[in-house]
């Protein structure tokens, strides 16, 4: 073993203090492989060293939570003997460097997190945040990311049913790609990653190991041939077909009593999967790298331990199950190799060519990563903007908003995703939450949301709002919200201002998830989304799932027919701060975001759930980006049925009333239940107003000039295809 010089430690990203800690744990100088292993395990990505302290604030328990954060994904009981397993993860940097492969492998990674736990993936969602549409790279990135996500989900046969897409100049140098996967498993057959039985064989399955994505390698290139390093790309290429085989093979093996522990090889590959399994089981692990299936020749121990080759799994299985496992992996044409054993030593011992290449105590690696108390400051609260005068009519503002980058139809995106495969998609993309059919006429609803412009202005309110919007999107289809996963995307945590947005957002999420009884069961933090000091707007994305007990009572945003009464549920005051109206019509990005009253939010949501359940509303849609009139227009577009609405009081200026973004609001319509709706709202102490009626093929607001649905549809549907025209895939 060659000892490492301190400057190589520095090039692995260690501070002098951190390196001293390593020396202390090792009792000697680490060699290069050992240093690489520490650098992976103690990286921000694996150790959460800047965020850990704050994530503790998130509530993760509830009677229906089977497994909270800490495992590969969160697990929630959904009744009838079933569990939903879900998680969201970022693949931001890779997707910016190589959009197609970066996004594709992001989907692959999150799917493995879910089927590792014994669940069959049933749905994917993707949250995409791009730079300004006019930035020279944006179209290329959109095109590549969308086709990358599609290629992976489509090939593996998992429907991509929803997501969110935003555009903002703060993402010009760092786009964000967050993928969420939801799986279904028998509630009593969840698989965990705790390697508890010393003596049991460790097997490697899936693709062979190559030199993919070894980031540390370039930093430590003094030990290697410099020229070879320079040519070596750090981008991984995904192989969705192999993922499909791996998925089927793992699920087949899981049907028998074979597996003790299982973990996918994600970031930091073999290192993190081996160390984490042993750490969770309180055991040790011996690995023999000569037995690892390899795609390239001459790989070093360092490279093999840090490779991020995709579509690989590590399992600890019962000795007696070895032959059975071999048979299954052979059937699916996958490599399957015993590469080590679980031990009682509490150490990771790696050998190659008969030499010990690494020997490290597991405890420090897994549990004693540095923990940072980074300084943070919250942004100054922004003064209210009041109600600035409107330069345009309400009708023309609607046309502008319906076709603006953040509100235009996402059809161009989700039509590239197979959102129907498996045949269970009952609410496809385009609604508030997507819904997948469960046995027994039940439905699983899912959504993914955050409003970065709110988080930038007020991180705490923004964090609350992200959870509240997810809650509302679930409620709007008639689903009881169950739990959330998060994907927290921020800039450099070493900047107090960035760290402040993180701390504030997490606190807001924690508060809202408690108030709305939606525990956080899994999540992911992605820092350093910044280029030359320009950070992305804070984006704490919330993925959430909910249950529909009776699919006959599922609600959708399409009006049911003509002559329905349209009600607004929730209060409106005309809050234009941080709104899309302000940004798109006046060009200002200013003012505080609308406040989130969590108590009112909960009462309103429960009221609406009751209305859907008991009255079977004709339609229901929550009010979010763009405000009330945008929500109404979306309902008209979805149904092809127009409306005439009037604002009830003229105290609030028309544009503030129709485009303000107060939270906690829904629009519902019903042919004959008007009285019952008003009565129920009154009993619940929630504001409820009749806005008007459905019918015709035009939209009429405050008795003004009618606009045809088709003219709104044209601007709404054309923006994205027109923007993307000619940015064809040429691969």
């Amino acid at each position: 073993m060659n000892a490492v010089l301190p400057d190589i430690a520095a090039r692995h990203g260690f501070t002098a203090d951190e390196y001293a800690k390593i020396l202390d744990h090792m009792g000697r100088e680490p060699n290069l492989t050992e240093l690489g292993i520490f650098s992976a395990m103690w990286s921000e990505h694996c150790s959460y060293k800047s965020s850990r302290r704050w994530l503790k604030a998130l509530a993760s328990n509830a009677p229906w939570v089977i497994c909270g954060p800490g495992e590969n994904a969160g697990v929630v009981d959904i009744g009838d003997g079933l569990a939903a397993v879900f998680k969201m993860e970022s693949h931001n940097h890779p997707s910016f460097i190589e959009p197609f492969q970066g996004a594709a492998t992001g989907v692959g990674g999150i799917m493995r997190d879910v089927f590792t736990m014994g669940a069959r993936p049933v749905a994917l969602l993707d949250v995409l945040r791009f730079g300004s549409p006019s930035h020279p790279r944006t179209r290329h990135l959109v095109s590549g990311v969308v086709s990358g996500i599609g290629s992976y989900g489509n090939c593996t046969g998992v429907p991509t049913v929803g997501g969110q897409t935003t555009f903002h100049a703060s993402c010009n140098g760092n786009n964000l790609v967050n993928a969420m996967c939801v799986g279904i498993a028998p509630a009593d057959r969840i698989f965990y990653a705790a390697a508890s039985q010393p003596g049991a064989p460790v097997i490697y399955v899936g693709s062979k190991t190559g030199r993919d994505g070894i980031h540390g390698a370039s930093m430590a290139s003094t030990g290697f041939d410099d020229e070879a390093e320079a040519k070596r790309p750090t981008v991984q290429v995904g192989d969705p077909f192999t993922e499909k085989l791996l998925l089927e093979a793992c699920l087949e093996l899981m049907a028998s009593e074979s597996i003790i522990a299982i973990q996918d090889m994600g970031a930091a590959g073999l290192t993190s999967s081996a160390v984490e399994m042993a750490a969770r089981g309180g055991t040790g692990i011996d690995l023999d790298l000569d037995a690892v299936p390899q795609r390239e020749t001459g790989m070093t121990a360092y490279e093999m331990m840090l490779s991020e080759s995709q579509e690989r799994m590590l399992m600890v299985i019962h000795e007696h199950a070895l032959e059975h496992a071999r048979g299954i992996f052979e059937k699916w044409d996958l490599d399957c190799a015993p590469i080590g054993r679980i031990t009682t030593t509490g150490r990771l011992v790696v050998t190659m060519n008969g030499r010990i290449e690494a020997d490290i105590a597991i405890g420090p690696l897994a549990h004693e990563a540095p923990l940072y108390e980074r300084p943070w400051t919250l942004p100054e609260p922004r003064p209210p903007v009041g109600v600035p005068g409107s330069p345009v009519t309400v009708e023309s503002a609607l046309i502008t908003l319906a076709g603006c980058p953040d509100l235009a139809s996402r059809r161009w995106i989700w039509e590239q995703y197979d959102h129907l495969v498996m045949g269970r998609t009952v609410a496809p993309p385009g609604g508030d939450a997507a819904v997948i059919e469960l046995p027994g006429d039940r439905g699983l609803a899912m959504t993914a949301d955050a409003t970065p412009r709110y988080c930038e202005a007020d991180p705490v309110a923004g964090g609350r709002q992200a959870v509240a919007e997810a809650w509302r999107n679930l409620v709007a289809v008639g689903a009881r919200p169950l739990a959330v996963t998060d994907c927290l995307n921020f800039g450099n945590p070493e900047s107090p201002a960035v760290m402040g947005t993180f701390v504030g957002s997490v606190n807001g999420i924690a508060e809202a998830s408690r108030a709305l009884a939606m525990p956080v069961v899994s999540g992911n933090v992605s820092f350093y989304n910044e280029t030359r000091g320009e950070a992305v707007q804070p984006a704490p994305t919330i993925g959430a799932i909910g249950l529909i007990d009776d699919l006959d009572r599922m609600a959708s945003l399409a009006f049911g027919g003509a002559d329905e009464t349209i009600h607004l549920i929730g209060a409106t005051s005309g809050h234009l701060g941080a709104s899309l109206w302000l940004r798109e019509i006046t060009g200002e990005e200013d003012g505080p975001p609308p406040p989130v009253d969590l108590d009112a939010e909960r009462r309103t949501g429960e009221l609406v759930l009751g209305l859907i359940r008991d009255l079977g509303l004709a339609s229901c849609h929550d009010v979010s980006d763009g405000g009330l009139l945008v929500a109404l227009a979306e309902m008209a577009l979805a149904s092809g049925i127009g409306f005439s609405v009037r604002r009830p009081d003229r105290e609030v200026a028309a544009h503030a009333f129709w485009f303000g973004e107060e939270q906690g609001r829904f629009v519902v319509s019903s042919p004959c239940a008007g009285k019952a709706i008003a009565a129920a709202a009154h009993d619940a102490g929630v504001a409820c107003t009749v806005l008007g009626r459905t019918g015709g093929d035009v939209l009429t607001v405050d008795d003004g000039q009618p606009i045809s649905i088709e003219s709104v549809r044209t601007v709404h549907e054309r923006w994205l295809p027109d923007t993307m025209a000619g940015a064809g895939e040429t691969s």
Binding site: I97, E98, F100, Q101, S207, G210, R211, D212, K231, R232, P233, V235, Q236, V237, G238, D239, F241, T242, R295, E296, S309, Q310, D333, T730, S731
Partner: protein, 79 residues
Amino acid sequence: MKVRVHVTLKDGVLDPQGKAIHRALETLGFAGVRDARQGKVIDLELACADEAGAREQVDRMCRQLLANTVIEDYTVEFV
């Protein structure tokens, strides 16, 4: 003027297509295939007649569009 551009994956980059071809050839009973890699070939017909100018232009095309230089190499050949 006719130009042929080859775009191939860099060494070390996983090539799922090549892997699949390799396996399929083996399944079909073709023994002795040691490796298979798949790439793209793009044939261009250019109006321009001056080779040096064309070479420089095609090089820019490759870097801007035809090849993804993060994972791919390219070669240009005049035919």
